[in-house]
């Protein structure tokens, strides 16, 4: 009897492995292998077109990047962008989600409408915004100068001081719907009778929000924050389309693109990618730490 059971277990285990193997092989091929290649390449002087045979570089790629003022400027720009856009998107997304969650006429129309900015491809919307912020023909300048809010037309995308806020605003415009949708899903999980009970106990709407909605929404909010933060740290398309390779407006991802695609330097490009990975890992660890302490 016992022997038979072991035999069954063995067979089941074998079957499990058999079923899982294709998935494992695919993961190794499309994630494991390229990842390994990037790690190896980051320690080599290597041209992406292999016009020169690769040579071992040790840590010199990392050394160069970490001592490059352009990289640190890209790092700062990326951090400012991430913090500002994620905070604004979360607050605005929460407000939109609360509105979309309440009962009113035309609610379903609104739920579809808020998704439009998110549905437009980023490259297209970035190009549209770039034209809207053109210094001479752009609608932003025409309206603001026409209403005498600004004395002279501003070349929005010419300097970091004005271009970065513009880019953050465009990203907020684009991604708030995504945040709102995630939070709306979380809001709908909160049972309605909790609010009834709270009302009977005499809690005000504000009290209900801070004592019920927010704590119960926290798990969803944290997942949404992780998603958005990781996305924002890797931001590429908005910057690339709106300001190109302008110094002072590189992000770590456009910096990596410049090394890899612009200079065909696979070694430096891989090393930059590894550094981006490490930065992202730091944020993931911070978030998971925070979520553990807040749920225990």
């Amino acid at each position: 009897m016992a022997a038979k059971e072991i035999d069954l277990q063995m067979r089941q285990r074998r079957l499990a492995w058999f079923l899982v193997t294709p998935a494992v092989v695919i993961v190794i091929m499309i994630i494991g292998f390229p990842m390994f290649q990037v790690i190896v390449d980051s320690f080599f002087h290597k041209k992406a077109d292999l016009s020169v045979p690769p040579t071992f570089a040790g840590l010199s790629n990392y050394q160069f990047i970490l001592s490059d003022p352009d990289f640190w400027s890209a790092f700062v720009v990326t951090l400012i962008f991430t913090v500002c856009s994620v905070v604004l998107e979360s607050v605005l997304g929460l407000i939109v989600a609360l509105i979309a969650n309440s009962d009113f006429k035309g609610r379903s129309v609104l739920r579809v409408a808020i998704l439009i900015p998110w549905a437009i491809p980023t490259v297209v919307s970035s190009k549209i915004w770039q034209w809207m912020f053109n210094d001479i023909y752009g609608v932003a300048n025409v309206v603001l100068a026409g209403l005498h809010i600004i004395p002279n037309k501003i070349a929005w995308l010419a300097t970091t001081a004005t271009a970065l806020p513009v880019i953050i605003a465009v990203d907020v415009w684009k991604t708030t719907p995504f945040m709102a949708l995630l939070l709306l899903a979380g809001l709908q999980l909160i049972p309605g009778d909790l609010y009834e009970a709270a009302s009977i106990d005499g809690a005000t709407k504000v009290r209900q929000f801070f004592s019920l909605t927010l704590p119960l929404l926290l798990p969803t909010l944290l997942v949404a924050l992780i998603f958005r933060t990781l996305d924002a740290l890797r931001v590429f398309d908005i910057f690339f389309v709106m300001v190109g390779n302008q110094a002072g407006l590189l992000t770590v991802a456009t910096y990596a693109q410049q090394q890899l695609v612009g200079y065909l330097d696979a070694g430096m490009g891989s090393a930059t990618s590894m550094i981006i990975l490490i930065i992202i890992m730091v944020f993931v660890v911070l978030y998971t730490r925070f979520s553990k302490t807040s749920f225990e």
Partner: protein, 440 residues
């Protein structure tokens, strides 16, 4: 790593190849019966030419189609980004992948060093006496280690466009000789025009965008102030000198005064749009803007002329950044012989003449500058020799495959100076640092 290949691009390319293949097979029977050509008729040639958003691309596409019809081949035109720096990145991705998806590339004058490993030696297809019909300087630029990487398609040089009607209106009888004079004239005209209610009128527009565009402008400013050519032909990095700093500071003084503050985001087309709408007194641009501006539908038709760019101060020099495009046959092409035939056709005297007349682009064959039909359409071509004599090359020959790194430093730093974010002194030091690292 995921940026290395652009899957959507590649996919659409593959689909178009597949579609092309079907069409080819279908037309193969017909074509082989009808066109008694020297080579196997009825192949598809993929040609990456000028961006077909602009006039040049549309024209090239049409002329290349004529070749396809004449020879019984099929032509698939691959458009490119308007921005030269982005085009190079697109090409480099094809080359790095050893892709035979594109047979003929239109390459910039600064790329032969980068493109050489992926190019067919055109000396195989063009005899020495034919090569001698082109400008020797361009042939020399396009020859890397004895290999002729590309055949000169058209040449380019930075020139000054000026409004003859406005100069007259404000009492000037000749275009400016120096940048200082230009700044004065631009200021007076801009103030005058704005007083008459044209609040968007600009004195001077040029290319200040952080891309290859401003590299060309910066090389001109620096050379005109006798500040050298960034890297000298004998591989010495010369950019960190007081004249170069003075040149960049002078250019910075234009931004927000005689030129719009947004000029630091303008490429060629952004500048031309303002100019051709009649909203600027002066413009620095390439010759292509001449034909477009003289078009009867243009707002400034018959109201402008062109000349050499001003000198940097009374003791400076005239400078014109050498540009121009070449045609290259890709080493990975499956039909290099047919591809070479397309190259020869597009560079032939007849097609170059048509190009000069339709697009006002400078021929690469000196003989054509005496052609009465071309001169009738582009009167200023008789002075083109003077412009080309002042041509300054970007430091692409000495840096070869690493040119893009040096150019990136030049365009990021000079753009940063113009937008007031980096002092010129610091900028030239940073360009020097990068150039030295590349040359080491």
């Amino acid at each position: 790593m995921r940026m290395l290949s652009n899957p959507s691009n590649m996919n659409s390319l593959k689909t178009s190849i597949r579609q092309g293949a079907v069409r080819v097979i279908g037309s193969l029977f017909l074509a082989s019966a009808l066109a008694p050509s020297a080579f196997a008729a009825g192949v598809t040639i993929h040609f990456l030419g000028d961006s077909d958003v602009g006039e040049g691309g549309k024209w090239t596409k049409q002329v290349a189609q004529e070749w396809a019809q004449k020879t019984g081949n099929t032509l698939a035109y691959v458009s490119r980004p308007n921005d030269a720096s982005q085009t190079l990145q697109q090409c480099q991705q094809y080359w790095a992948a050893r892709s035979g998806d594109v047979d003929v590339y239109q390459i910039d004058v600064i790329w032969p060093g980068i493109a050489a490993p992926h190019a067919v030696d055109m000396k195989k297809y063009i005899k020495a006496d034919e090569i001698a019909q082109y400008f020797p300087a361009i042939i020399k630029n396009n020859t890397v280690n004895g290999q002729l990487v590309g055949v000169p398609l058209f040449t380019d040089a930075g020139i000054l466009y000026y409004r003859t009607d406005l100069l007259k209106k404000y009492g000037y009888d000749a275009p400016p000789k120096t940048w200082e004079e230009l700044a004065q004239m631009a200021k007076k005209i801009q103030e005058g025009e704005r007083k008459e209610g044209r609040s968007d009128f600009q004195g001077f527009v040029f290319q200040g965008k952080a891309s290859e565009s401003i590299t060309c402008n910066a090389v001109e400013w620096i050379y005109s102030y006798d500040g050298g050519t960034v890297i000298s032909p004998d591989k010495k990095v010369t950019i960190n000198n007081p004249n170069a700093i003075k040149a960049l500071e002078t250019a910075k003084s234009w931004v927000g005064t005689i030129a719009p503050a947004g000029v630091t985001t303008y490429g060629e087309e952004e500048a031309r749009n303002i100019w051709q709408a009649g909203n600027s007194a002066f413009m620095r641009n390439w010759p292509y803007a001449y034909a477009l501006g003289q078009d009867p539908k243009s707002a400034i038709s018959g109201k402008f002329d062109v000349t050499v760019l001003p000198k940097g101060g009374d003791n400076g020099k005239n400078a014109a950044c050498l540009g121009g495009w070449q045609l290259m046959v890709c080493k990975y092409s499956k039909n290099p012989d047919v591809a070479a035939d397309l190259v020869k056709f597009l560079c032939s005297p007849e097609v170059q003449k048509k190009r000069a007349i339709d697009l006002s682009q400078l021929p690469t064959r000196p003989d054509l500058y005496k052609d009465p039909d071309i001169l009738a359409k582009n009167a200023w071509f008789k002075n083109a020799e003077a412009v080309l004599n002042n041509a300054v090359a970007r430091p692409s020959t000495v840096t070869g495959a690493d040119y893009n790194q040096v150019s990136t430093a030049i365009y990021q730093q000079s753009n940063s100076v113009l937008s007031g974010q980096t002092p010129a002194k610091q900028a030239v030091a940073q360009i020097e640092r990068v150039a030295k690292r590349v040359l080491h």
